[in-house]
Symmetry: C2
Subunit: 210 residues, 2 copies
């Protein structure tokens, strides 16, 4: 008796379903069950903070001159257009009104929340955000923007759920604040696929090496 | 009665000598008393670590392809040639034998140490490393390489003693380790003057905005 590649992988998937997300994800990749990318696009200070302790981010700005800009520029518009879904933590939703996000009317917002919340408009609250992201990534659609905050990013990284990172390094050493990265059990090896500079902000784009 | 610019600044310098280093440094700059730059040149993971908890740094490597290299490359040789003095912490000296540093025979090594140590060859131990750096910077000479480690970097940043940063961002999220940056009382605004990529390592060069 023999199994097809798909049946074999499906068997492994079921067998591994009690193991960590990472194994499942690797298998899903092999099975091409993941058809959409989860993209982290976020700004951080050179010392790795995404906001001050009080949540403020008025320091997120360039160095005040385009003198050192690269010829190639990161295409933010293209990124926005490619994303039809935004995933964020509840705190991020509070700190950043949706109106600030370009074209928010046309995007679906999935917000992680530990407590019961009432959905409205294009905003849906979910408890099992990792499960939801796994589900989203297996369905057809555009890129999914992982907006933040820090704990959601950490959960997604730990779960091996991030496919692409766009990190804007703000030309500031903040000294203190809310860190983007928290401790991880496992190193993640990256592939730097683009590096551009806009007004002193280094835009680094990474794929995950698998 | 009137004072020359120099007399005025000298007066301010004395007046401020009991204040923080930053004030003194700003004045020294204005007086052109600082003639050499203290340059931090160090590699860190995307999540800001310079070594694993056990001090190991075998993860400091590129992503394995020159496909995404920039045309302009960071000139490491020029950097080495420009530095005639290396400042490091005692732990860094233990972790990295001097022989690993190119042209070490022609450079002076100043090593921070809280305990009494015997100088040898071109290695000199000092207790008041910040005072020593201030002194060095006011004398003629080449650039001074701030080698690390983390606590010395923090002391120098806090004292406003760093003039230029060359940060090589290794394409790895390490997850845990010894962080480059610790908390600072004051934000430092930077000017990104060069950004290059070599084998997936983003080399970011910053001046301090003053």
């Amino acid at each position: 008796m023999s199994y097809s590649k798909e049946e074999e992988l499906e068997g492994l998937l079921v067998e591994n379903s009690k193991n960590d997300w990472y194994n499942i994800l690797s298998l899903r990749y092999e099975m091409r069950l993941i058809v959409r990318r989860l993209v982290l696009n976020i700004a951080m200070s050179l010392d790795g903070f995404i906001a001050r302790k009080d949540g403020s981010y008025d320091w997120i700005e360039g160095h005040g001159t385009d003198k050192y800009d690269t010829v190639l520029q990161f295409d933010n518009q293209k990124f926005f257009n490619n994303c039809d879904t935004v995933v964020m933590g509840r705190k991020s939703l509070e700190d950043c009104p949706l109106e600030m996000i370009e074209g928010y009317q046309e995007k679906q917002f999935i917000v992680a929340s530990h407590t019961e919340q009432t959905d409205y408009g294009n905003v849906r609250f979910v408890r099992d955000i990792i499960g939801e992201i796994m589900e989203l990534r297996s369905r057809e659609g555009g890129d999914i923007w992982l907006f933040g905050g820090a704990s959601l990013v950490q959960d997604c990284l730990e779960a091996g759920g991030i496919d692409h990172l766009i990190i804007g390094i703000i030309p500031t050493i903040l000294g203190d604040g809310i860190p983007l990265f928290a401790s991880l059990l496992e190193e993640k090896k990256l592939l730097l696929v683009e590096s551009t500079v806009t007004d002193g902000i280094a835009m680094l784009r990474y794929d995950i090496r698998r």
